[in-house]
Amino acid sequence: MDEISQNLQAFNCPVPLSQHETIQLGHGSGGTLTHELIKRIFQKHLGNEILNSGNDAAILPFSLEEKLVVSTDAHIVSPLFFPGGDIGRLAVCGTVNDVAVMGARVEALTASFILEEGLSLESLERIVSSMADACLEAGIKIVAGDTKVTERGKSDGLFISTAGFGWLSAKRQIAGDLAQPGDAVIVSGPMGNHGVAIAQARGNLGFSSSVQSDVAPLNSMIASLLEAIPDVHVMRDPTRGGLATTLVEIARQSGVSIELKEDQIPVDRAVRSVCDMLGLDPLYMANEGKLILILPSASVQKALSVLQNHKYGRSAALIGKVLEKSNGKVWLKTMFGTTRVLDMLSAEMLPRIC
């Protein structure tokens, strides 16, 4: 111990702290780096009580009965077409879901297109037609749009930015800071499919699998759910950063700790295989058609039966519970009865070497 304590006093690490002075890809991961960037630049200059609430969408006062919900989202994905979807379907569903998880009825979307010189019109048409299909399914319209073109090489084929608008009953209270001790945690289906489908579609893994993206509009399932269970406390879609990152956000916002049971969390066999091979964790992989619900434990059976009756909620499962008030920790009980902490994704997820 003497040698160790001596070294503790003489601590002098050979590597300087890496302060990022330029944007790193990890700033887009949805994890810790993203949160730091938002705090350091965006909240610093643009911050206000609505922006700083940190939910998927903003709630604006409108009338005594209803509030206006607004959300905006930029979509970049490579490749533009992937198993189970494409950037168009992703753009529509992502924004519909961000508005719907606030408990709002989605009214309309707007869409801006940044097109790269050289993009084939055939690809663009396929993407826009896929957006139309997703709108039809979600029962909404795109009511305004914009188009810009960049020189070849200045953008990755096509970027789409969408905004979504919806109406929220003034009585409805769903937010990330409303998780209560004793509440149950439910997910609407298997975790990680979108993230794995994208990794695989990039085509450089050296193998292929049958994994499809789960990208889907969830507003009709959410509407059925809220009709049956008006007192849902928290609802989120675990996109970038996956289940773990989203639950840590919720735990911190609500000032509670959450315990999950590993063997109750649904993960498709193929997703698990790919993650095992690459050293990735399905709990940190993105989803684009899944819900996390936190609600009173008395409502669990009803919620599961509503979800399981919907095509996007067939494998909905109870995965854990909210424990006591605390500083926001998420614990995972493994199938061996041991416990580990789940933290936010810190930066880009990079495959391990061996």
């Binding site: 690490c13 790193q24 095992d276 070497i353």
Partner: protein
């Protein structure tokens, strides 16, 4: 939920039964080092250390290929990546390892063409698709990554691909084990040898080490049942005063290993002295290109002065990598040093000891 592997190897019932057997077999304190970062990752991911009796202390060894890659190799990588002629390719998690001033990801954001590849062959394909560029592959990792790198070099030689080279930084496990056992601090009573490395190299190399240093060495896999079996076999040897090489991973490993892969390695590479980050120079612990393949060495090809940076002798990352302390004993752990801003290399990779501790045990 189903597992892609035969269910046995993740069976909670079997794992708990093995835990009970380990407890029954243990009469006094033992320090067991798992060599491989993949094993450290599994132990902390599944919380297997929580299932062991207090007497058994697991020491996490230097087996994270990213963590032990020397500072000077990273500086050489940054020098190469800064060359506008170069497309620099690497396995993903190497990109976040900090060098002196920055890491490869930062270099990329400053305009270097740095690309993540999943295999060295992919780097050669990039070379073929970009004949006007020089493509350099960062050859890191243990014996596990070497056969595919050797095969890639031979492929490039055969097909006259002249714009491909490697930055050699591969390291070997047995010399590191000897170095750990040869140091003054003989903390480690037994080793769990890295299953994947042994799948390539076999385990005959460990026989003289076990004998000379009188330490049990158990070839061990990565799943919970594999790891608990390896620990049980190590404890039984220790308790009965034996120091043998045993194989707890026989579904993947035999004594000779993969002879074809070894022949490939020996044709292209030869052992050279190499620095390990946090440990220092270990004689004949790395692989360099043989004379015949020297023209594939990026340092020769670009003719620059290779970095000779040394690390401070008082770095706790080194103590962690040698198993002398656990990460939370480092004053920077979780405060100045986190996965977002790694100070030392073991915080960078998911396989790194500090990173695994940070993610799986912080706050517990």
């Amino acid at each position: 939920m189903t597992s892609p592997l035969p269910v046995d190897h993740r069976s909670p019932a079997l794992t708990l039964r093995l835990a009970a057997e380990i407890k029954a077999a243990t009469s006094r304190p033992w320090n067991i080092m798992e060599i491989c970062g993949g094993q450290t990752h599994s132990i902390l991911q599944y919380g297997l250390d929580q299932l062991l009796p207090q007497e058994i202390r697991l020491i996490h060894g230097p087996g994270c290929p990213v963590c032990v890659t020397s500072l000077e190799s990273i500086e050489n990588a940054l020098t190469l990546a800064a060359n506008p002629e170069v497309i620099f390719t690497s396995f993903g998690d190497m990109l976040r390892v900090p060098g002196v001033s920055c890491d490869l990801l930062t270099a990329r954001s400053h305009g270097s063409d740095v690309r993540v590849v999943y295999s060295p062959l992919e780097a050669v394909k990039i070379a073929e698709a970009n004949p006007a560029k020089q493509v350099v592959f960062f050859a890191i990792g243990f014996e596990t990554t070497v056969p595919s790198i050797a095969a890639t070099i031979k492929h490039a030689e055969r097909n006259d691909i002249n714009n491909f080279s490697i930055l050699p930084a591969n390291v070997l496990v047995p010399p590191a084990m000897k170095s750990i056992l040869g140091s003054e601090n003989r903390l480690v009573h037994a080793f769990l040898a890295a299953g994947h490395v042994c799948a390539v190299m076999g385990f005959h190399e460990y026989l003289p080490i076990a004998k000379l240093y009188q330490r049990p060495i158990v070839v061990t896999g990565f799943e919970p049942v594999d790891l608990m079996t390896g620990i049980l076999m190590a404890v039984r040897q220790l308790e009965s005063g034996r120091a043998e090489v045993e194989n707890a991973y026989s579904r993947a490993v035999n004594q000779e290993g993969n002879l074809a892969a070894q022949a490939l390695i020996n044709e292209v590479f030869e052992p050279v002295d190499r620095k390990w980050r946090g440990i220092g120079l270990i004689p004949l612990s790395g692989l360099g290109l043989k004379e015949k393949y020297q023209h594939f060495d990026a340092i020769n090809r670009f003719g620059f002065n290779a970095s000779t940076i040394s690390e401070s002798s008082v770095c706790l990352a080194g103590k962690v990598l040698q198993g002398l302390i656990n990460p939370p004993q480092c004053p920077a752990f979780g405060t100045a040093c986190t996965p977002t801003k790694p100070v030392g290399a073991p915080m960078v990779s998911a396989e790194g000891t500090c990173n695994a501790y940070y993610r799986f045990q912080r706050g517990s």
